[in-house]
């Protein structure tokens, strides 16, 4: 058994991201050329020259075209990489989730799964599609421009960048301040989110108990509290930041450059034409910094999302045996099974139970006694912490899952019909089943007549069915799959009180001749079972047939007596 390597989120698109970055670098460099062209044009025009002008116009035009083309290409490459990566990750997550223990889906809601597959992957968009390009642009443009400016006149270049250290110093101090407040701020945001979620989800309750005004004022108070704290923390920093930004403003830099330049031209140490590059290129140094600042939030979110995606992809799958074994017969044994959802809180203690082929075994007990958990170990929703569950003499962990599910069928209270035709829903376990087989199963499950009343009969997609009708479709499904072993939730029969008789008849048909493990909520429905296991606090305290258990002085009789008044 080998553990799968951890998923490298980026690997599939790394090369393409490099290509996009390179294209962006070309684009950034090309973006500087028109400025150079203007400088050269000016040099010639101011010198009264008439030659070579069109060459520089052409150079500028070509550079602009190159820039447009490479920008477009870079974006295309990075966006295509992003789309492909999204698809790759989504199907990867879906594949992985198809192999994790079923119990994982008990601990994670379908909303969380959707968030992982859809929202988190989508949040990575800015990271993949934009961040690399933005960083390249923010680095290449200023470096090349500065190089050029220093080459033209190093003194003016120093003057141009004189205000930058001021901003950077203030900024560094501010970032330190932000980080100190970050934890407090996140806590405050957490509080307001809790208040919001509770207000929104609980408002129906609040309204019925006449506390709307109280609740909405509590909610408003949380919002005000957050706003006040935010203002007192971030407000002063905003002032500093606002003040610091004025040093990077193009107008500020322009004033400094022109004043210094005019002085140098006056003293004859600078030609007017050599002042131009600084007026053209010197004003934009602040911009990439600000752009990066704006992108930083999106980037942080994307990185957090990438971590979550990776965690999801790294969920350990249900171990699959290297050399699967095939069961011999359908006898099922639970041998000294201990299991808990959390490490230190076992739900089942040392449970042993044997299900003989072709018999019905009922699990009964007070709620929380572990009967549903025990039943779920057979189809491997979870694996026991110690002890074994065997089918036909083979540990279920040593079987190929597909083989296991060919033997074990499930009918639970919580029916899941898929958004495909009724026909495909019924033949889910046997996609190649013929139409008359599907119809026969539907008839046996007492749902055929209802299906024919649907707008498109068996081809109806996403039909409107009552709870009991959906139950019968799921029973037809189990009938057609025809597994020799069945795990059944008896509550299924009561999902829809109005047609429980029909569901019950369908269930009676289904269990005939199979090895059945039934989670029983009502005692009288299982009085005919071949074996009743009474669970209490995760242990089997009694096991036998109904008359024997009733005769004995034990939990079963107490349960029976307490319910007799119905």
């Amino acid at each position: 058994m080998s553990t799968l390597p951890t998923f490298d989120v980026w690997r599939p698109v790394r090369v393409r991201l490099w290509v996009a970055g390179l294209l962006q670098a070309v684009s950034s460099a090309a973006g500087l050329v028109p400025y150079l062209a203007v400088v050269e044009l000016a040099r010639r025009l101011l010198a009264g020259g008439r030659t070579g002008l069109w060459t520089w116009v052409l150079v500028a035009a070509v550079a602009l075209a190159v820039r447009a083309a490479t920008t477009g290409l870079a974006l295309t490459v990075s966006h295509l990489a992003d789309a492909d990566l999204q698809y790759h990750l989504r199907s990867g997550i879906a594949r992985r989730l198809g192999t994790v223990p079923l119990g994982w889906f008990t601990a994670h809601t379908s909303g969380e799964v959707k968030k992982a597959v859809q929202d988190d992957v989508h949040s990575m968009h800015s990271l993949v599609a934009h961040a690399a390009l933005d960083i390249v642009a923010a680095a290449v443009t200023p470096v090349l421009a500065l190089g050029y400016l220093f080459w033209v006149d190093w003194r003016m270049a120093l003057v141009t960048t004189a205000t930058l250290p001021v901003y950077l110093t203030v900024y560094a101090v501010l970032v330190g301040g932000y980080q100190k407040k970050m934890a407090e701020m996140n806590a405050a945001i957490g509080r307001i989110n809790t208040a919001a979620v509770e207000f929104v989800s609980g408002i129906a309750v609040v309204k019925t108990f006449g506390g709307t005004r109280r609740a909405s004022s509590r909610f408003a108070a949380a919002a005000d509290d957050f706003a006040d704290r935010f203002r007192s923390w971030v407000g002063p920093m905003t002032r500093w930041e606002g003040a610091a930004q004025t040093t990077l403003m193009p107008v500020t830099v322009l004033t400094v450059v022109l004043a210094a330049g005019t002085a140098m031209i006056g003293s004859g140490t600078l030609t007017p034409a050599n002042l131009l590059p600084f007026v053209l290129l010197g004003l934009g140094f602040g911009q990439p910094l600000l752009t990066l600042g704006f992108g930083a939030a999106a980037l942080r979110e994307a990185r957090a999302a990438a971590t979550r995606v990776r965690t999801t992809l790294d969920t350990p799958p249900l171990p699959v045996p290297a050399t699967p074994r095939v069961p011999d017969g359908h006898e099922i044994t639970f041998r000294n099974v201990t299991f808990g959802y959390a490490a230190d809180a076992p739900v089942l203690h040392d449970v042993s139970l044997t299900l003989r082929p072709g018999t019905v075994t009922a699990l009964v007990g007070p709620s929380g006694s572990g009967k549903s958990t025990l039943a779920r170990l057979l189809p491997r929703f979870f694996d026991p912490d110690s002890g074994t569950v065997t089918l036909g003499g083979v540990d279920v962990r040593d079987m190929d899952p597909a083989e296991l599910y060919r033997h074990v069928g499930l009918v639970f209270q919580d029916v899941q019909l898929l958004r495909t035709s009724v026909r495909d829903n019924i033949r889910l376990g046997r996609p190649d089943a013929a139409d008359d087989e599907v119809r026969a199963a539907a008839k046996a499950a007492q749902i055929h007549d209802r299906i024919t009343e649907l707008p498109d009969g068996y081809d109806t997609v996403d039909p409107v069915l009552s709870g009991g009708e959906a139950q019968r479709v799921s029973i037809a499904r189990a009938l057609l799959a025809d597994t020799p072993v069945l795990v059944l939730d008896e509550a299924t029969a009561y999902a829809d009180p109005e047609c429980e008789a029909a569901v019950q008849d369908a269930l009676s048909t289904l269990v005939a001749g199979r090895t059945v493990l039934v989670i029983a909520h009502r005692l009288h429905t299982v009085t005919g079972a071949d074996q009743i296991a009474v669970l209490d606090d995760g242990r089997i305290v009694q096991c036998g047939r109904h008359p024997d258990l009733l005769a004995a002085d034990g939990l079963y009789r107490r349960l029976w007596d307490s319910l007799e008044d119905r």
Binding site: Y87, S216, A223, M249, T262, I265
Partner: protein, 578 residues
């Protein structure tokens, strides 16, 4: 954008928003004016007379000071406006939600609302600071530059003006392209999202029927469709962005070509031309930046729009003055009601006299739940009227109506509070003894005994630490404690859990005769004990009467009763019995 901003903020904040926008415009104007000073300065320098440049540089210095002050002012104001905006959003949301009909709060809606509140507000807060400023600068500063250029050389000015118009045009087209592609991606995302949810929910079934090893075709298809839509979006976005970039650059090149031609023909001085070319770079830069921000702006606008949509939801009309409910009776008179276009109830009339129990019986989908919801005014009827305490519910204030009703419905929400605290929600002024009584009656004491901190155990957000049945028992205790004269109760889920069943029985026993009861009944004992049974079929009342009367009538109810009794005796046959 600005319209949206004022739609979601209220009149009190409008002043601050206006001041902020004024500072923003003033800043952009001042910046444009400062750039304009380039022309005389460069003229002087290129003419070889640096001394003539100094007065202009001094003016530029002052302009820079003005810009700095305005920039600082707008940054500080922007922060305040963002904060005020988020605060105003929360307050208005609170007020609006308080006035919306209960029927509006479906699970789906509350989920979306929760996300909107937690994510949307921080997004909205950043809109003024990060997005409005570059946008305003992008429009106003270039406009000033165009004016100055027109004054310097009308032909070049005209070229810039035409270029500006061209840019605005392409920006719109590009936004349209991106928008269309966006919607396609959204739709594909919704479909795929639905499949993902289905895939997760149906995992046990899919696996049990061997459908995950080879991949689940429906999900694969949906993901592939999403992928395709995503790739199509790229064509939209990239061509949109490329169009923007091309238009900016075409304008710049056109000015360059025109300028050189003019200079060669001697109709413009070299110094003027160079000054204009320098200005033209100031013209294009903010435009490119604004085009880049388009996407972020759309996201911000979308969150604003979601808030505006909620604010625009019609609230339940409240009477100016509430009627005072009389004896606790419930009456429906010729009620018709439907969700959207699907009629659910047709011409339903029934009376629940004070102090009696009425059982609502019928197949699922026959309209039982809707009847109770209309009584609690989750929705207003389409025709007819609902009377509680002798008055139309529309003439009662929410408080007066809710004062009459206790409800135990299927979907139960508990607050992240202790068990005791959650029960006390029913009547905050209740004494400890009263709370304890209600809790015992609803069998909540058994839950408390099981939990580590007993009555003081926190139940987790939404009550997640309790099972569904346990949550319902807490809600029964809550309703008992409230002790309102009319009780609406849905038995549905009670049937699945023996302890719940007992809690419902005890609650009904304690209320019978003392309160007016309307029960969506599933248990045969409840139905048989009712003073009146109302049998609903397809949204109409099929039969009304007492149990013996209806049995004797031999109609729908009699058949229903026979069927239920047969079901009640059902048992699974073991191998030994076959």
């Amino acid at each position: 954008m600005i319209r949206l901003l004022s739609a979601v903020s209220d009149a009190r904040r409008a002043g601050a928003v206006r001041r902020y926008l004024a500072a923003l415009f003033a800043f952009a104007l001042a910046q444009g004016a400062a750039y304009a000073l380039l022309v005389p300065i460069l003229r002087a320098l290129f003419a070889g007379e640096p001394s003539r440049a100094w007065p202009w540089i001094l003016a530029l210095g002052w302009a820079a000071v003005v810009c700095a002050v305005l920039q600082y002012t707008q940054a500080v104001l922007g922060f305040g406006v963002g904060l005020d905006l988020s605060r105003a959003l929360y307050h208005r949301l609170g007020d609006t939600l308080a006035g919306l009909p209960l029927g509006w709060f479906s699970t789906d809606r509350t989920g979306r609302l929760g996300r909107m509140v937690t994510q949307g507000v921080t997004q909205v807060m950043g809109v003024p600071a990060h997005l409005l400023q570059p946008l305003v600068t992008a429009y106003v500063t270039p406009a000033v530059v165009v004016l100055v250029t027109l004054a310097t050389d009308w032909r070049l000015g005209l070229a810039l003006a035409v270029g500006g118009a061209l840019l605005a045009g392409t920006y719109r087209i590009a936004a349209g392209l991106t928008g269309r592609a966006d919607r396609a991606v959204d739709d594909a995302g919704v479909t795929a999202g639905g499949r993902v949810v289905e895939y997760a929910r149906a995992q046990a079934v899919l696996r049990a029927f061997g459908r995950t090893s080879g991949g689940y075709a429906q999900l694969d298809d949906a993901l592939r469709a999403q992928h395709r839509a995503g790739r199509r979006l790229i064509t939209g976005t990239v061509s949109g962005q490329a169009m923007n970039a091309l238009a900016v650059q075409a304008t710049y090149t056109a000015v360059l070509v025109l300028g050189v031609r003019l200079a060669l023909s001697g109709t413009i001085g070299a110094a003027d031309l160079v000054a204009v070319l320098v200005l033209a770079t100031r013209f294009t830069e903010p435009l490119v930046l604004a085009a880049d921000l388009g996407g972020a702006l759309r996201i911000g606008a979308n969150s604003l729009r979601r808030f505006a949509d909620v604010f625009a939801t019609p609230t339940m009309p409240e009477p100016a003055e509430s009627a005072v409910p009389g004896a606790p009776t419930v009456e429906l008179r010729g009620v018709a009601f439907g969700y959207d276009d699907r009629p659910v109830l047709r011409d339903v009339s029934l009376t629940v006299p004070a102090g009696t129990m009425t059982a609502l019986v019928g197949a699922s989908g026959s309209g039982k739940t809707t009847v109770t919801r209309l009584i609690a005014r989750f929705f207003d009827v389409d025709a007819g009227s609902v009377l509680v305490g002798g008055h139309d519910v529309r003439d009662l204030s929410t408080e007066a109506l809710m004062g009459q009703l206790s409800m135990v419905f299927q979907d139960v929400y508990l607050f992240d509070d202790t068990i005791l605290g959650n029960i006390r929600v029913g009547r905050p002024a209740a004494t400890d003894a009263e709370v304890a009584d209600a809790a015992r009656l609803a069998r909540v004491d058994e839950i408390a005994a099981r939990l580590p901190d007993g009555w003081d155990t926190r139940v987790g957000e939404g009550g997640t630490r309790l099972s569904g049945g346990e949550r319902q028992r807490v809600s029964i205790a809550r309703a008992l404690l409230k002790d309102a004269p009319i009780v609406l109760l849905d038995e549905a889920t009670a049937a699945l859990d023996a302890r719940n069943d007992a809690a419902v029985s005890a609650a009904l026993r304690s209320l019978a005769g003392r309160r007016t009861l309307l029960v969506i009944a599933h248990r045969l004992a409840t139905i048989a004990a009712a003073d009146q049974i109302v049998f609903l079929r397809d949204g109409r009342i099929a039969e009304v009467g007492t149990h013996p009367e209806l049995l004797a009538a031999g109609g729908d109810y009699a058949r229903f009763w026979a069927e239920r009794n047969r079901a009640g005796g059902w048992r699974l046959a073991g191998a030994g019995e076959r």
